[in-house]
Symmetry: C2
Subunit: 216 residues, 2 copies
């Protein structure tokens, strides 16, 4: 397998966690997002969206979109630790938590969006972080905390007592929010699960700063 | 089943299409997003994110997030027309196309985000539509068109010759973009599939303007 990766991409971070939990190895190629490597003809031929991650399976199947990649790995490697529950309602809950992060929080605060805001609305960094970044973290994490705190299905992890795709999404979002200086103390269930995840090697080894392409 | 719905919500529109394709009936309750019904204590108790749609299954299972709902319906009603392919690579592709819309286009352009932009960046509607709405449609639809046009798996619909979850996501996004006056002629494959979908009753009956809560 080959993973097109970037150390600071939250979406790639999700897939790195999943690979680690499942004990799967992938050759890595770094696509430098700040240098716009993702817009090269060579990369666009692999991923027409020009986003990371992309995973190329051993049989040549090209997979894009982090959650689609994670579910694919889980379905095609069923003998490794499972990232999706065995029951339909459980899978729906794991997908809903994942989407609450990957659709409702992350897209508003990723690099390309922050750059575009600075460009078109002429926002300075402090204003943009306060009125935009933190706003969507508050809005999104508030809803997510409600989903986690209000359900008996929440365990040591987002769903039950083993990590699922939802945890693969939670930890990168938490990491990103803390990097931007957000106060996460208002989301105690999410914070508790994040800490539980970060005690595991699979999550530690997926952290941006320990990737080979990490910059100071 | 009961669907918490709003005629103009693109995410609810996706689920309405899926229910129609599968021939499933659901009682409807309209959550008026412009009047902020979604922030009532009663609704937040059902959906802590305060978003539509929510589906409550006959056994009381509460489901949120449109794509999680669609996959759940497909898994629990396998004898109705399938919205997900039978093979793992096919499912991954349908999920990736769906996420390319639901994670990378829609979240940037929905009502709450446009409202927030107007508030914090003091943007007038024309500027915001031009520099924000259309920018993300161009960016997102360009990538999506590449995914569709460049793959032999694209058929009459986004994946093969029957509608899948990807088409349930495509049509509401297309509808929304046209409502905002975007020129969609640059995305011929997506436009061709959108037209094929709209020739079907399941899509027609899910359109915002034919819902009971539609406003003039």
């Amino acid at each position: 397998m080959k993973l097109y990766d970037y150390y600071r991409s939250s979406a790639a971070f999700r897939v790195r966690i999943a690979l680690n939990i499942k004990g799967l190895e992938a050759e890595r190629e770094s696509i430098h997002l700040r240098r716009k490597d993702q817009r090269s003809d060579a990369y666009l031929a692999v991923n027409p969206q020009g986003l990371v991650p992309t995973l190329v399976d051993d049989d040549g199947t090209v997979l894009t979109q982090s959650m689609a990649i994670i579910e694919y790995l889980d379905e095609t490697r069923p003998d490794t630790p499972r990232l999706m529950p065995a029951d339909a309602a459980g899978r729906a809950r794991v997908r809903a938590i994942s989407d609450a992060i990957a659709c409702d929080i992350h897209p508003l605060n990723n690099l390309r969006v922050l750059r575009h805001i600075d460009e078109v609305f002429d926002a300075d960094e402090a204003t943009r972080n306060e009125l935009w970044y933190k706003h969507w973290i508050d809005e999104g994490m508030g809803g997510l905390e409600g989903m986690l705190a209000g359900s008996g299905d929440t365990g040591d992890f987002c769903h039950g007592d083993t990590p699922t795709m939802a945890d693969c999404c939670l930890v990168p979002q938490f990491y990103n929010a803390e990097r931007f200086g957000c106060d996460m103390s208002g989301y105690p269930t999410a914070a508790r699960i994040n800490a539980t995840c970060l005690a595991l090697d699979a999550f530690q080894q997926a952290l941006p700063e320990v990737q080979p392409d990490a910059e100071a």
